[in-house]
Symmetry: C3
Subunit: 160 residues, 3 copies
Amino acid sequence: MSRDQAFTDAARTLGHSFDGEIKAGGNYVPLVRVGDTIHVSGQVPRVADVVVVTGRVGAEVTLERARHAAQVCAMRALALLQRSLGSLEKIRALPKVNVYVQSADDFTQQSEVADAASALLLAVLGPAGAHARTSVGVYQLPKNAAVELDLVAIAEAEAD
Amino acid sequence: MSRDQAFTDAARTLGHSFDGEIKAGGNYVPLVRVGDTIHVSGQVPRVADVVVVTGRVGAEVTLERARHAAQVCAMRALALLQRSLGSLEKIRALPKVNVYVQSADDFTQQSEVADAASALLLAVLGPAGAHARTSVGVYQLPKNAAVELDLVAIAEAEAD
Amino acid sequence: MSRDQAFTDAARTLGHSFDGEIKAGGNYVPLVRVGDTIHVSGQVPRVADVVVVTGRVGAEVTLERARHAAQVCAMRALALLQRSLGSLEKIRALPKVNVYVQSADDFTQQSEVADAASALLLAVLGPAGAHARTSVGVYQLPKNAAVELDLVAIAEAEAD
């Protein structure tokens, strides 16, 4: 199965569409490519114009919902890469993923939240999706999002 | 107008001078260049020896003051790049900016804070300043700073 | 003294062994190398299976213990690089280190915590260990760790 098909299947499983425009919410851009290195901006779990999981994980947000939020963030990052590159097949590597979890003061399962995003990235990209990761528990996130995720991807070198 | 002139103008508008030495406060360096990639250390809104905006945004710090703080952080990063490269004209791209906002527990406008820094970077650097961005709300920052910002810049390749 | 010897000496001084396996705790990998750039995943101060410093710095964790934690995180990152490269002599540069400190709401000495890790990295790697750094105070960390650290290293180019 192609990565793009795996992406479509993952969207269906999550119950969300990522076909619409994914805008940056200010004076920045969704991603920047320099050479083969692509930095993707921090993604919150927004679908169309709605942040689908808001609040503090471990208090008003369950671990299960936070994992869903992390997956939506990862799908948005993949959607941006797919549009920029034409196909997810053009991703050579995914060296780093950062996951920020808006946490209750006694919530220490940030890794378990991030792991849902990591599993999705591996499921869609296969071995090229193997990544280093940092996950931390932050105090607040834009739009009261429960999770935010950014990443660095490496594209296949362009033909001369 | 040159980028260096735009930088000087921005400093005047902010009402701060960035002519003094910008030191790293410990066993690290303000920036590291490897090849054409430059990592700039996290900058707090310090002018000379004073952190000019301290406290928690959304509580004792207003959105307006936090945006000012974000701009001071961005100016410090630009000042470091200017000194290292000789001129801001030598910046080819600005792939990633990270903004950390010391936030009150119900403050969710981290993007609006970060956006002031982003606008300044674009105003000074023009299209080369287009960047991916992540902004999060943290619990505390060094020196009780309201905002901290770091970035990755790409320099023009050096002539052989 | 070789860097690998300096690493061994630092482990003895800290009173911990870093000889065991250092696993990633989920669907990610400890580090990813693409070209000469290596991203190391966020390291908590775990020795074998125990996180040796947990809790909020400035409340139940002293500055001194937090600095110890930061050093353990740095040693784990070095241990991963040593295994991947065969020797720490293969590290050409260390452009960026990020330090996340689980902080009490009035604790503002994140730089002082991070500085212990920075000093250790310089002691082991020498001038190649000079790095840009960002340190922030977060609300929670995985496993209730007091500190988390990640970094980007540059390896010597491989012979063709």
